[in-house]
């Protein structure tokens, strides 16, 4: 019986030993676990790998150590032998405790009793071997080490409120970044640029106009419904094949895009990324050695060497000169266009080409007074429509020296160049001038001029004679020359010629009335000579009668005949160097011509609006009763530009006042609407507003950390303010509240003044 308690003690000892050892091993295993975790974290291994590694290391260590120490197989014998070794009081007989009483010799029994006594005395002091202290120390050290190691890693996702959320969030961010990183973008510029296709992972793109962009992602498992929204409008679903999502598009305009996808839980929107299109500019042409206007003298070298530099973004494919030669002047100007190619290089190609061309004006057929216009035109290799550009037109003029002389002599003030024929009015004026200048001029000159006027008078007479269908057989020898001249026009349209007479009517207005009165007086004096001449004229005209009928009525014909006869006389006196005597005839002739032109006016019937007949009874009564007021109405509600941006701006102002910024869903909605307006603006200037757009999306999706919200809001506010246009001043109604006493005061003041 007495052995029982000692057996029990022994059992307790064994259990205690096991427990202590187990704790020790566990502590050590945990330490190993922590250290491995810390190290793999520093190496920024995948989170799963980290866990597997560290837990594996811990478990392995536990197993090795526990096998080494044989913890699970420790029996009473081991305890007994340990006690025998370490506690001499037991006299190496503690193993007797394990034996049954009946198997023992009496001596052994005696010894056992003694042993039990000793053992019970000893029991509280028995210490079994362990390293629990060292293990605890190691454990503490490993915790310190873990903390130290983990502080090296980036403090990335440890700012989120609850640990549960943080885990999810970190997972989402992990997915997001890995998703975005998995994007492979291939940019293929158009073939003509000669730029090879390139691959990039940067989602902000800068591309050559017309490039094709190819997006492709292999992260196809968890993501569904992957879309790209272009410039906030077009959403395009990515095509799915076995391993990837992909899409291809070509761009000619700048813009931006956003990626949208669903994962298992929710829909994700990425940031906005810009697509900046670099335009292919048309070629630029610089002409180096030529002014736009060049005037050459006949003696100058008539060869012009043209040098020009052509440049383009990629390559120039073609260039030439378009030259136009203009010849003649006035209505008879003629143009000839030629396409000239450059001398060097023969084939224009390359990014920057220096071209030359020697332009030989003589070969182009330029003569003095002619002009050459030319411009250079260049094409680049853009497809499908080549970009092209041209210079300003250059002018090269060859001076006409002959013309220059006339312009110097033109200083006389009167154009002496003889017209085809002079009008009667002009002859009168010239005759009067001649008489006036009689004293200053020599007799020869006077006679010469008088004779000349006589010639003019003859030409005029012949001209009018044509209208009469006159035959000039009766003329003086000189007439043949005149008719030769006259012939040029005799076949022209008669009415057109008649037009000249018409013009004279206008000229007539220029002459003072006084002179016509004088003419009248003169006419009165000289009636008799006319009368004498008349029979002769009559005789002549009877001779011509048969042919006359075609042109004019009888009265006109008679007048014309009379005029022609008078012209004869006028010419006679001029030829006799006596213009004074000739003048009365001239005036008379003028008067007759004028009458003829008046008579021969043609009546043209006007067609057009026929007003309804007036109601006589209503006329001038001033009755307006049936006339109604007219009115027009127009609605131009003040153009409210960017209403949502304005609203959102005020929301930001309000949020910035708050200590802790919390954005309500209504405010988020407002931001989204403003974002839509901003995206329209961003389309034109993607670089400028894209960041603000991204911030707006981030704000509405609560992706911005609390301490960065103020900065984000300020940046968005800045963008909004920039977008708002500067408007002109508008009058505004002024607010005022007058106290009744003030109003009374003002009224009474007014009463006092009156």
């Amino acid at each position: 019986m007495s052995t029982h308690p000692s057996l029990y003690f022994l059992h307790r000892l064994k259990q205690r030993y096991k427990l202590v050892r187990l704790t020790e091993v566990c502590l050590l295993a945990f330490s190993v676990n922590l250290v491995v975790f810390g190290i793999s974290h520093v190496l920024s291994l995948n989170i799963i790998t980290t866990y597997v590694l560290s837990i594996g290391a811990g478990v392995l260590f536990f197993m090795i150590r526990s096998i080494q120490l044989n913890i699970f197989k420790v029996g009473n014998e081991a305890v007994v032998s340990y006690m025998n070794q370490h506690y001499p009081q037991l006299q190496e007989s503690s193993d007797l405790l394990l034996r049954e009483e009946r198997d023992l010799t009496p001596l052994q029994q005696l010894q056992k009793l003694r042993c039990i006594e000793q053992f019970e005395l000893l029991y509280p002091q028995i210490k079994l071997p362990n390293k629990i202290k060292q293990a605890s120390l190691l454990f503490v050290l490993s915790i310190v080490m873990y903390v130290g190691l983990s502080s090296f890693t980036l403090p990335a996702q440890n700012k989120i409120i609850s640990p549960k959320e943080s885990k999810e969030e970190s997972k989402v961010i992990e997915n997001l970044s890995s998703f975005l990183e998995s994007f492979e973008i291939v940019i293929t510029p158009p073939a003509y640029t000669g730029i090879p296709a390139s691959m990039t992972t940067n989602l902000d793109l800068k591309i050559v106009e017309g490039s094709k962009i190819y997006w492709r992602t292999f992260y196809g498992v968890a993501m569904t419904d992957v879309k790209i929204i272009f410039s906030g409008k077009d959403s395009v679903q990515l095509k799915i094949d076995k391993i990837s999502h992909k899409i291809e598009r070509s761009f000619t305009e700048s813009g931006f895009y956003q990626l949208v996808w669903n994962d298992a839980k929710e829909r994700h929107y990425s940031d906005f990324y810009k697509i900046e299109v670099i335009r292919d500019h048309p070629p630029s042409i610089a002409v180096q050695n030529l002014n736009q206007f060049t005037e050459l003298k006949a003696r100058d070298s008539l060869q012009i060497s043209l040098k020009s530099v052509l440049t383009d973004d990629y390559s120039i494919s073609q260039a030439h000169i378009i030259a136009t030669v203009s010849k003649g002047s006035g209505e008879s100007v003629k143009f000839r266009e030629e396409k000239l190619f450059f001398d060097t290089p023969v084939k224009v190609q390359g990014r920057e080409v220096r071209v030359t061309r020697l332009i030989d004006l003589i070969k182009l057929g330029l003569e003095p007074g002619d002009e050459l216009y030319f411009y250079i035109e260049a094409f680049d290799n853009k497809t499908p429509i080549a970009g092209h550009n041209r210079t300003e037109t250059f002018f090269i003029a060859l001076q006409d020296t002959a013309q220059q002389e006339t312009s110097v002599d033109a200083g006389l003030g009167v154009d002496l160049m003889p017209e085809y024929f002079r009008s009667q009015r002009q002859i009168i004026i010239d005759s009067e001038k001649l008489l006036k200048d009689k004293k200053q001029t020599t007799k020869d000159k006077f006679n010469f001029k008088s004779n000349e006027l006589g010639y003019d008078q003859k030409v005029l007479r012949l001209k009018y004679g044509e209208f009469m269908g006159e035959e000039f057989d009766g003329g003086i020898a000189q007439t043949s020359a005149a008719t030769a001249e006259g012939d040029d026009h005799s076949h022209e349209d008669v009415v057109k010629n008649f037009g000249h007479v018409h013009d004279e009517e206008n000229e007539h207005n220029l002459v003072a009335d006084k002179k016509t009165e004088e003419a009248g007086h003169d006419h009165g004096d000289k009636v008799d000579p006319n009368a004498k001449e008349d029979p002769l004229a009559d005789f002549k005209h009877t001779h011509d009668d048969e042919e006359e009928a075609t042109f004019f009525t009888q009265s006109i014909k008679a007048k014309l005949k009379a005029a022609l006869t008078i012209m004869w006389d006028a010419e006679l006196h001029l030829r006799l160097y006596d213009p004074a005597k000739s003048l009365p005839y001239q005036y008379k002739a003028l008067k007759l011509l004028k009458e003829i032109s008046q008579d021969s006016r043609v009546y043209v019937h006007r067609t057009g609006f026929d007003p309804p007949p007036l109601k006589e009874e209503k006329r001038l009564t001033g009755d307006l009763t049936e006339i109604e007021n007219s009115s027009s109405q127009y609605q131009k509600e003040k153009l409210n530009v960017y209403p949502n941006i304005k609203q959102a701006f005020l929301v930001i102002e309000k949020l910035l006042q708050q200590k802790t910024i919390t954005i309500t869903s209504a405010q988020k909605n407002q931001f989204l609407k403003a974002g839509q307006e901003l995206s329209v603006v961003a389309l034109n200037q993607p670089g400028k507003y894209l960041r603000s757009l991204s911030l707006i999306t981030a704000l509405t999706e609560n992706k911005i950390e609390a301490d960065k919200k103020v900065e984000a809001l300020k940046e968005i506010r800045k963008a909004f303010w920039n977008v708002l246009p500067n408007e002109t001043t508008s009058p505004q109604s002024k607010q005022q509240s007058l106290h009744a006493i003030d109003q009374l005061f003002i009224r009474n003041l007014e009463a006092l003044r009156n």
């Binding site: 007021n629 127009y634 609605q635 131009k636 005020l650 910035l656 508008s730 109604s733 003002i746």
Partner: protein, 582 residues
């Protein structure tokens, strides 16, 4: 000896004498013992009554005086004061460091010792503490000025798309200071202050939209010290005007003005006279309505009438009276194409200006920093006349107005201003016409007006006094959706007062039925110099005449405690009651 009584002294005295005579007479006739004693006690009782009613006071020399130290006090000044007034005790207000064993005084104890405060040294007491003091008998010795903005003036109404200005004074201690006004996108305007002392500054800005917008004033010292204060502004919403054009015939001028105003959202009605009874009407942003006569009802719907001189002639006398009445009631009238030389006698004068004829029919103007020439009528109104100028140059006033009752009559001598629009200069065109139309138009009278009586800035936990002028029967004051009680002014009708304590920093909205107002509670560290300057000014106003020096004796009047009179009254009356029973 003086009396503090509500009733006239003579009245009280005569009544009491009569009363005394009556009671003495009664006692005299009563055939009982102790007659002399009874008569004396009647006299004493009447005296006690007199004491109770008249509240006699006597003047004594002020027994104790306190020098109160407030923030930033000058120790030297305090020492000199102590030298002059050795009996004075030093006390310092909460939050101020003590000096020479001064005792702490909390704001709540201020009331009880108010009569003893002889000097206040430093930045003075805040408004709420000054309110507590019934008798302000202290002399205020201000602290030295601190560097910063000491005065700030912001226009009462700030309008969008217009150049608004902030004016103020900056006390510059040393070195150069740059003051920058920062808007939502950055710098709007800045000024460099080079001289020391109080320097005026003005900064301008042009808000692009209405609403509550926070600007920032940044003070940069040349040595790199920078401080910034938030400047809260409320940009007013623009309200459309209703304008009536009465013209005898359409002109380019009115057509362009019409286009300009309709594009800005104003409501226009134009009437041209085609013949005596036929008109052409044009409506801009208005439903169509026709009229042949001017009536009060019609004119009351409009804020401004543009009238040309020809059309004025065709108005009937009744129409002219109607127009005149409407102007008296607030309508604005803008006269175009006037010919002051042809005055219509016997009729109502719609052109009450004294003009001077000049020879030229063009004028050159400077607007938005560039000069240009426009045709103008050959008349000018003199600067000296009572006309208020809107646009003027050396030759005189080109457009201006005069108050007529509650309304205004104005004129515009400039002609063919549409040339500016044709030349593509819509900015100058709008700058030319906007002030003319705005100044002459009817004032938009709202039923209530809110006024904050505190000057900017206000800090947390400070009282804000609100005054409301309202024609409403029962105005309700709501601040941030909390209703605040209002007290009607004792003396003035329609004036109400309310008080509220500023809550957390930021913008708050006051709202009385149809009127809104915003106030801003600044953060404690903002606008320090301005607040101090204003506090010093408030204390200076209340300070006793500074000529009385510290050594002079200060007398104060003390009311005799009425308890003694009550006691005397009870004793004597008691004796009179007891005497017959003895």
């Amino acid at each position: 000896m003086s009396f503090n009584t509500l009733l006239p002294l003579e009245l009280v005295a005569s009544v009491l004498v009569l009363l005394a005579a009556f009671f003495i007479g009664l006692e005299w006739r009563r055939k009982q013992s102790l007659r002399v004693l009874r008569i004396i006690s009647v006299g004493l009782m009447i005296l006690a009554l007199a004491g109770i009613i008249l509240q006699p006071a006597y003047t004594v020399e002020k027994s104790s005086s306190i020098i109160l130290l407030t923030a930033n006090y000058d120790q030297k000044k305090v020492d000199s004061l102590l030298q002059l007034n050795s009996s004075a005790t030093l006390k310092h207000i909460e939050g101020v460091k003590p000096h020479k064993g001064s005792k702490l005084l909390s704001y709540s104890d201020l009331y009880s010792i108010q009569d003893d405060i002889q000097f206040i040294v430093g930045e003075g007491l805040p408004n709420h503490a000054l309110d507590v003091l019934d008798h302000k008998t202290f002399q205020f010795i201000p602290a030295d000025k601190t560097e910063g903005i000491t005065q700030l003036h912001i226009d009462e109404s700030i309008l969008s798309n217009r150049t608004n200005a902030i004016k103020g004074l900056y006390y510059n201690e040393s070195g150069k200071t740059r003051i920058v006004l920062k808007g939502p996108t950055g710098r709007e305007d800045s000024i460099l202050i080079e001289k020391t002392g109080n320097q005026p500054f003005q900064l301008s800005f042009q808000p692009k939209q209405s609403g509550n917008i926070s600007y920032e004033l940044i003070m940069k010292k040349i040595d790199g010290n920078t401080s910034s204060d938030i400047l809260p502004l409320h940009v007013e919403e623009s309200k459309p005007l209703r304008i009536l054009f009465l013209q005898s015939y359409p002109t380019f001028e009115t057509q362009y003005l019409k286009n300009f105003l309709t594009a800005k959202g104003h409501q226009l009605l134009l009437r041209y006279q085609l013949s005596k009874n036929n008109f052409r009407f044009e409506y801009g942003n208005l439903p169509s309505q026709q009229f042949s006569r001017l009536t009060n009802e019609l004119l009351n719907r409009f804020d401004l009438v543009l009238l040309d001189a020809n059309e004025l002639k065709t108005l009937s006398p009744t129409e002219q009276t109607t127009l005149h009445e409407s102007i008296q009631n607030g309508l604005g009238l803008l006269m175009l194409d006037v010919d002051p030389s042809k005055e219509t006698k016997g009729r109502i004068n719609f052109f009450p200006f004294q003009v001077q004829k000049i020879k030229v029919d063009t004028t050159s103007l400077v607007l938005s920093k560039t000069s240009f020439t426009l045709p103008a009528l050959p008349y000018r109104v003199n600067e000296s006349s009572s006309a208020k100028s809107i646009l003027a140059n050396k030759s005189g006033i080109l457009s201006g107005y005069k108050n007529q009752g509650l309304g205004k009559i104005g004129f515009q001598f400039l002609q063919q201003t549409y040339q500016l629009t044709l030349a593509g200069d819509s900015i100058r065109y709008s700058n030319l016409w906007s002030p003319v139309i705005e100044n002459i138009s009817r004032l938009n009278i709202s039923s209530s007006k809110i006024k904050i009586k505190n000057s900017f800035p206000v800090y947390q936990d400070e009282p804000i006094d609100i005054q409301i002028i309202s024609t409403l029967e029962n105005p309700t004051l709501v601040i941030d959706s909390i209703q605040i009680p209002l007290q009607e002014d004792v003396m003035l009708d329609d004036v109400w007062h309310g008080r509220v304590w500023a809550s957390e920093a930021g913008r708050h909205m006051i709202h009385v039925q149809d009127a809104f107002h915003y106030y801003y509670v600044s953060k404690a560290q903002e606008w320090k110099s301005l607040a101090v300057a204003q506090q010093i000014k408030a204390n200076q106003v209340l300070s006793r005449d500074s000529e009385t020096t510290a050594s002079e004796k200060i007398m104060e009047s003390k009311i005799v405690d009425p308890v003694y009179f009550y006691l005397l009254f009870v004793l004597t009356a008691g004796f009179l009651w007891l005497a017959p029973k003895l």
